[in-house]
C-alpha cells in the first residue's frame, strides 16, 4: 500500500461516520435512539439489513471459497427469500403493532418476564462473543499481510465503531450502513472489472466463463439428492430457510434494522428488497472469486497464500521441504498454463487440465501440512487470503486502498448493528425493568449509550483474545447455531402454539439449550443441525410440559 491507498482508506472510513454524526446530532429520545425516526425509508432499511448480514467474512472469504470449490456455495442462500417473506408476513406485523423496542419485549408480553429475559440473555451471550470474532477475523488477516500491529488494528476498527454507534444509536447505524454498503458495491465491482481486464488479451469474458466452467468452478445449481454433496439446491432451500428464519426473525441485530422507521410498509419493503437482491449479490461475489481463480491460471499464484505463515515455517527450518514442493508446484502450473493457452478446455485437454489442477491442490495441501508440522499454522483457512492477496498484488494503487476500506466498512457496519442491538437489549430488557423502572426518558438514552460502549469494550476484549480460538470463521457460525435454535423456538411457540404459557416454554427453552450444548460436546454432526434440534426441542418440550407439569396453568 502506498500513500494514495492510505488517503483513500482513511478518507473513506472516516467520512461516513462523520457524516452520520452530523446527521444525528442533537438531543434524542429513547424511541429515536433505538428505532430511529420516521424519515428512515425502506431503501435505507433494505441496505441496512443487507449490510448487517454481509460482514467482513463475506468479502474476504467468499471469493476464496469460489477459488477453492466453485460458486455452488450460493445455494446456501436459496432458503433466505422464503424466510424473509415469512418474517414479513408473521413477525413484522406483530413487532410493529406492539411498538416494541426489542423482539424479546414481545416474549414478555406473550409469556412472562422470565421468558423475555431468557430470550434476551441467550441473544446477548451469542452476539457479544460473535461481535468480537467479527472484529478479529479481518484484523488478523489485514495485520498479517500489511504488517499492521494486530491489537492496534482491533482497537482502531473497534474503537471507531463503538464511538459513533454509542453516540448516534439506530439512526446513525442505518445512515452509515447505507453508504458503507454502497462503497462495498463500488469496490467489489471495480475488483470484478479489473480481474476480468487482467485476463490474457485473447480471452474474452464469455470464453473465460467457458474455461472456468470447464474446470468445474461454475456449477451454481445442483439438483442432486445425494446427501454427500456439500451444497445442493435442496440443502440450500431447507437448511438455508431455517437458519435465515432464526437470524431475521429472532436476532435483535436484524430486528432492530427493519423496525427502524416505524412503518410496517417500510419494514416489509426493506426485507423484500433483500429477498430479491441478496442471492444475486452472493452470486456475483462468488463469480468474482471464479474470475480470480481464472486469473491465477495464467499468472502463477503462491503455493500458500498466507505468506507470513509460510515464511515462519521457512524460518523454523522447513525451507528445504517447502522449496521442493514449490519447484513441483511451478512445474505443474507451467504445464497447466501452456495447455490452457494452446488448446483451452476442450474434450481432449479437459481431463489433463483437471488432473494438473488436482495435483496443484494436493501440493498446496502438502505445503499446509508442512506449516502445521512447523507450528506455523494460521488461525484461518488459506482460502481467506486468496482475494486479499489478489487485491494487494494485482490491483492498482488507490483501488487497493478502496478494497481495504471495503473490508473495514463491512467490519464496521456489521459490528455497529450488533453493538446497537446489544446496548438496546441490555437497556430495554434488563436495565429498565429490573434496575431503574421509572426513570426519565433521557436517563434510558444515557444508559443505552453507556451499555453500547460497555458491549463494545467486551467485543474488543474478545477480539484481543480470539487468537485462542482455532478456526475463526467456523466459530462465528457455530456460536450462532448453538443459540439460534432455542431463541427461534421461543418465537415459534409464541406465534403458533397458543395453548403454551410462560413457565412451560421457559423451562422447555432451558432444557433445549442444555440438550444442544450436550450434543455439541458429545457428537460431531454438522453445526447447522443444532438450529433445527434446538428449535424442535423447544416446540416439543413446551407442548409436553404444558400438557403435564404445567397443565393447571393452561386452564387458568
Amino acid at each position: 500500500m502506498n500513500r494514495l491507498d492510505y488517503v483513500v482508506l482513511i478518507a473513506t472510513i472516516l467520512a461516513i461516520p462523520l457524516y452520520g454524526l452530523w446527521r444525528t446530532r442533537g438531543r434524542k429520545t429513547l424511541g429515536y435512539y433505538i428505532k430511529g425516526d420516521e424519515s428512515i425509508r425502506w431503501a435505507t432499511i433494505g441496505l441496512s439489513v443487507l449490510a448487517t448480514q454481509a460482514g467482513p467474512i463475506t468479502f474476504l472469504s467468499m471469493p476464496g471459497q469460489a477459488y477453492e470449490s466453485g460458486i455452488g456455495f450460493v445455494q446456501n442462500y436459496f432458503g433466505q427469500p422464503f424466510a424473509l417473506i415469512t418474517v414479513c408476513a408473521v413477525f413484522v406485523p406483530i413487532f410493529q403493532r406492539l411498538k416494541v423496542y426489542t423482539a424479546y419485549e414481545y416474549l414478555g408480553q406473550r409469556f412472562d418476564q422470565k421468558t423475555r429475559l431468557l430470550g434476551a440473555f441467550l441473544f446477548l451471550i451469542q452476539r457479544g462473543l460473535a461481535a468480537g470474532i467479527t472484529i478479529y477475523a479481518p484484523a488478523i488477516i489485514l495485520s498479517a499481510l500489511l504488517g499492521w500491529r494486530l491489537n492496534l488494528t482491533i482497537w482502531l476498527a473497534g474503537g471507531l465503531v463503538v464511538a459513533y454507534t454509542a453516540f448516534g444509536g439506530t439512526k446513525i447505524v442505518s445512515i452509515t450502513q447505507r453508504y458503507q454498503i454502497l462503497i462495498i458495491f463500488v469496490g467489489m465491482a471495480l475488483a470484478f472489472i479489473i480481474a476480468v481486464h487482467r485476463l490474457p488479451a485473447g480471452l474474452s469474458f464469455g470464453r473465460a466463463l467457458t474455461v472456468a466452467g470447464g474446470m468445474g468452478k461454475l456449477q451454481a445449481v445442483d439438483f442432486s439428492l445425494d446427501p454427500d454433496r456439500r451444497y445442493t439446491f435442496w440443502s440450500g432451500i431447507f437448511g438455508g430457510f431455517f437458519l435465515a428464519l432464526s437470524y431475521f426473525g429472532a436476532d435483535q441485530s436484524q430486528v432492530q434494522r427493519y423496525l427502524a422507521g416505524g412503518s410496517l410498509t417500510a419494514s416489509r419493503f426493506g426485507l423484500l428488497f433483500n429477498a430479491v437482491v441478496k442471492v444475486p449479490m452472493q452470486f456475483l461475489i462468488l463469480l468474482l472469486g471464479a474470475m480470480v481463480f481464472l486469473f491465477y491460471q495464467f499468472e502463477e499464484p503462491p503455493i500458500y497464500f498466507n505468506r507470513p505463515a509460510y515464511d515462519r515455517a521457512i524460518a523454523l527450518g522447513h525451507g528445504a521441504e517447502l522449496n521442493e514442493l514449490q519447484a513441483e508446484f511451478d512445474d505443474v502450473f507451467a504445464r497447466k498454463r501452456d495447455l490452457l493457452n494452446s488448446s483451452g478446455v476442450n474434450s481432449a485437454s479437459r481431463q489433463e487440465i483437471l488432473q494438473l489442477d488436482a495435483k496443484a491442490r494436493e501440493l498446496r495441501d502438502r505445503a499446509k501440512a508442512v506449516l502445521e508440522r512447523a507450528g506455523a499454522s494460521p488461525k484461518s483457512k488459506d482460502s481467506d487470503y486468496v482475494f486479499i492477496t489478489f487485491v494487494l498484488q494485482h490491483l492498482p494503487h488507490g483501488v487497493v486502498g478502496l478494497l481495504i476500506a471495503v473490508i473495514l466498512c463491512a467490519t464496521m457496519s456489521a459490528t455497529a448493528a450488533t453493538l446497537n442491538a446489544l446496548g438496546s437489549t441490555s437497556a430495554v430488557d434488563f436495565y429498565r425493568p429490573l434496575i431503574r423502572p421509572n426513570a426519565p426518558d433521557h436517563h434510558y438514552v444515557v444508559a443505552t449509550e453507556l451499555l453500547t460502549i460497555a458491549w463494545g469494550l467486551v467485543a474488543i476484549g474478545v477480539a484481543s483474545y480470539a487468537s485462542l480460538v482455532e478456526n475463526l470463521i467456523e466459530t462465528g457460525n457455530i456460536l450462532g447455531s448453538i443459540f439460534y435454535g432455542s431463541i427461534l423456538g421461543l418465537f415459534l411457540v409464541a406465534f403458533f402454539l397458543r395453548s403454551v404459557r410462560g413457565s412451560a416454554v421457559f423451562f422447555a427453552a432451558l432444557l433445549a439449550q442444555c440438550l444442544v450444548l450436550i450434543l455439541f460436546w458429545t457428537l460431531s454432526i454438522s453445526y447447522l443441525w443444532y438450529n433445527l434440534i434446538g428449535c424442535a426441542a423447544v416446540l416439543v418440550f413446551s407442548l409436553a410440559l404444558q400438557r403435564t407439569i404445567f397443565a393447571k396453568s393452561s386452564l387458568a
Partner: protein, 47 residues
C-alpha cells in the same frame, strides 16, 4: 390485543404498487424463481 389479531393487517395497510401484501410476496418469489432459472441456465451453458 392478542392472538391472530396481531398478525392481521393493520387498518389501511396495503402494499404500494402491488395492491396487497400477498401479491407483493408472490412478485418477490417470482423474481427469485427467475433468478434460479438464470443460475441454472448459467450452470448448463458454462459447465
Amino acid at each position: 390485543m392478542k392472538g391472530r389479531d396481531l398478525q392481521s393487517e393493520p387498518n389501511g395497510d396495503s402494499a404500494p404498487l402491488f395492491g396487497s401484501w400477498p401479491k407483493a410476496y408472490c412478485v418477490a418469489l417470482g423474481i427469485f424463481a427467475f433468478e434460479i432459472v438464470l443460475f441454472y441456465a448459467f450452470t448448463v451453458v458454462f459447465s
